[in-house]
């Protein structure tokens, strides 16, 4: 045993355990954050499953034969085994793009199953010639890019598989089409598209998460370092604009964080391309051809969203660190911002903000750090108003925080403000050190 190790370790543990900043930042925050995250994910799974089995399905019967009637009856009977599908029936409808959209709007649903002409004929033929197959055509609307988006499409696969099990293996197959931005894309599986979009759109939340965490750490420690290294006092007596100090800190943090983000993105895209290289070629989808790549305007809006969000996080970090006496305290303080960064970034991988209940939607919109993730999905779907609203909201939030930060830097509070943890009182009227 190392001589003195036990004694020294005890001292270290005492110091750490008695520091309320560490206790809050490292123990209490994760204990609260992860259960909340778990609750949200659980809710997302539950909602997706409920939606899938309770979904409304339009069945367009263009065959009107014996087997098509049997197939519809079979689907309707599934309520007994847990599928609570509401079935709307239409006969003899030619499914053009306009008609598909009209039907979807009429029944307020997102999926259509078409039984094409010749369906009954093919099913009958299958029993003599097993190579002949009947097929149904599935039209699914691509709404968002959450992990559970593909659940509804997979329900159709489940229906077909159950039908095949009952009547004959491989008698029935499906052809899928996806309704993207009001246009039907034949041969495109909605589950595959949302899966691919998902894998691409995970990059944004994770990048935002890392970027914001880097940036707030840099901003917070840079102010605390001035205090810890005793350079702040001298700096504040120089003939310079105090706001220049604030802007200098924010700008340098943005630049360093941006360089970090570029390095991170390069590494991440390499990782992603390595993963994509392993996917069989037949499954490759061209997102650009499907119109699922942001436009130049979309990219501009996304960049702007990211910029204002960064600025708000940095200003918040600078303000919080102004209350810290040293780097360790500053790091503990900014860890209180992390749940607000973590929560939307991770939750929005699993959830689509558009399908959330109103109250939860409000919570996510109110957190400024949700907006880059929301925007990254919205620009793909061409929903620019959501992004513009986000930019306006985050800019307003940033202005308020920046105003508070500039007030703090303009007065003696930058030197004297301290956060007192006994009862979490903010104590301003106290000199930075105990010499009078």
């Amino acid at each position: 045993m190392l001589k003195g190790f036990g004694n020294f370790l005890l001292k270290e543990l005492k110091e750490l355990a008695r520091d309320p900043k560490i206790l809050l930042g490292m123990i209490v925050v994760p204990l609260v954050m992860f259960p909340v995250l778990g609750g949200i994910m659980g809710y997302a799974v539950q909602t997706a499953q409920e939606q899938a089995i309770k979904a409304a399905l339009i069945i367009v019967d263009n065959d009107c034969g014996n087997w098509s009637s049997s197939f519809i009856s079979f689907i309707e009977s599934l309520g007994d085994v847990g599928f609570n599908l509401t079935v709307y029936k239409e006969n003899e409808v030619e499914l053009t793009s306009e008609k598909v959209l009209e039907l979807l709007a009429k029944y307020n649903t997102t999926q259509i199953l078409e039984i094409p002409r010749g369906f009954s004929e093919n099913v009958t033929a299958h029993f003599n010639y097993p190579n002949v197959k009947a097929y149904v055509r599935f039209y699914g609307v691509l709404r968002g890019t959450s992990v559970f988006e593909s659940v509804s499409a997979s329900v159709v696969d489940a229906l077909i598989s159950m039908f095949n099990r009952r009547y004959a293996p491989d008698v029935l197959d499906s052809k899928k089409a996806t309704v993207i931005k009001g246009e039907i894309k034949h041969g495109v599986d909605p589950a595959a598209v949302s899966g691919l979009l998902m894998s691409q759109s995970i990059a944004m939340p994770i990048t935002v998460l890392i970027l914001l965490m880097y940036a707030v750490q840099i901003a917070a420690t840079s102010v605390a370092m001035e205090k810890e290294e005793k350079t702040l006092e001298t700096l504040l007596t120089l003939p310079m604009d105090r706001l220049a100090i604030l802007w200098g800190k924010l700008s340098s943090s943005i630049i360093v964080a941006a360089i970090g983000a570029v390095a991170y993105m390069a590494g991440y895209s390499y990782m992603l391309s390595s993963v994509m290289a392993g996917i069989p070629e037949g499954l490759n989808l061209d997102l650009a051809a499907l119109g699922l790549v942001p436009s130049v305007f979309g990219y501009l809006l996304l960049g702007l969203t990211l910029f204002v969000t960064m600025l708000s996080a940095l200003a918040l970090a600078v303000i919080m660190s102004a209350f810290a006496e040293d780097i360790r305290s500053a790091q503990s303080f900014v860890s209180y911002i992390y749940p607000l960064v973590f929560l939307p970034s991770i939750a929005l991988i699993y959830l689509d903000v558009n399908t959330m209940p109103f109250a939860l939607k409000l919570v996510f919109y109110a957190i400024p750090f949700s907006h880059p993730v929301i925007a990254s999905k919205a620009v793909i779907m061409g929903d620019y108003w959501t992004v513009i609203f986000g930019i306006v909201y985050v800019s307003a939030f940033t202005l308020v925080v920046m105003y508070a930060a500039s007030r703090l830097f303009a007065t003696e509070k930058i030197l004297t403000a301290k956060l007192k943890f006994k009862g979490l009182k903010i104590r301003r009227e106290k000199p930075a050190e105990e010499s009078y």
Partner: protein, 243 residues
């Protein structure tokens, strides 16, 4: 000509602590004025108010006729403040630190270069100025900071414990530099110190403050005669006891 510093009935309250309690004194242009007092007497608070870092709760402070509350920006152009516990940027070399600091005051590049060269001479750090300041000893760092404060030839240099952490040789060197700057460049110096010998040899006038109030003021010789003491240390002890 206006006074270098004119503090009148200055009060500063931090929560329940009354750090300054009606402090008044004046510093004439071209003199070296020392503030002495026990720990917690209010010396640093007074210097911070004059340096525009803190605002007085009550009373007025003027620096060369400029009010510290109304004209803080103007005052910062003519003062140079050396805090008691000051540091330099760890990842800048001594030379880079001086260059960074001088850019806020110098009118042009030539003046900036001349100031930095002068600071290099004052500091006596020689080749070590090329090293990062994180490699400096406490004494070397202090010499760099004193040089920074004086290279600007401010109208008023506010030096909180200018020789703290310096050995006898370097403390002597710094005191000589301060005297030279006052003599040759007309700089006014307001300093605080715990070193009575330093105050006695350096200051034209001293103010003894205790519990945020001025309790005695005068030239070192006058004070010694008035309190019938052989040195300022005895005066200090006597005055603090009486107060």
């Amino acid at each position: 000509m206006s006074l270098a510093v004119e503090a009148s009935e200055v009060v500063k309250v931090f929560g329940s602590i009354r750090a300054l309690d009606g402090l008044s004194f004046v510093v004439k242009p071209g003199e070296i004025y020392g503030l002495i007092g026990p720990n917690g007497a209010g010396k640093t608070t007074a210097l911070r108010i004059i340096s525009t870092l803190l605002l007085p709760t009550a009373g007025t402070v003027k620096v060369f006729g400029l009010d510290v509350v109304q004209k803080a920006g103007e005052i910062r152009k003519i003062i140079s403040y050396l805090p008691e516990e000051a540091g330099a940027y760890r990842y800048l070399s001594g030379w880079e630190y001086l260059e960074f600091m001088v850019k806020f005051n110098a009118k042009d590049r030539d003046e900036a270069r001349a100031m930095v060269r002068e600071a290099a001479e004052i500091s006596g750090l020689g080749e070590r100025l090329k090293d990062k300041t994180k490699t400096y000893s406490k004494g070397m760092k202090r010499r760099l900071l004193v040089a920074r404060a004086l290279m600007l030839k401010p109208k008023l240099a506010i030096l909180d414990e200018p020789t703290s952490g310096l050995d006898i040789i370097h403390a002597y060197h710094v005191r000589e530099i301060i005297k030279k700057y006052v003599r040759e460049h007309g700089v006014t110096v307001l300093l605080s110190s715990h070193n009575m010998l330093e105050v006695e040899h350096l200051c034209n006038r001293v103010a003894l403050i205790n519990k945020g109030r001025l309790v005695a003021e005068g030239a070192p010789q006058e004070l010694k005669e008035k309190f019938e003491c052989s040195n300022l240390e005895e005066v200090f002890a006597k005055v603090v006891k009486i107060a």
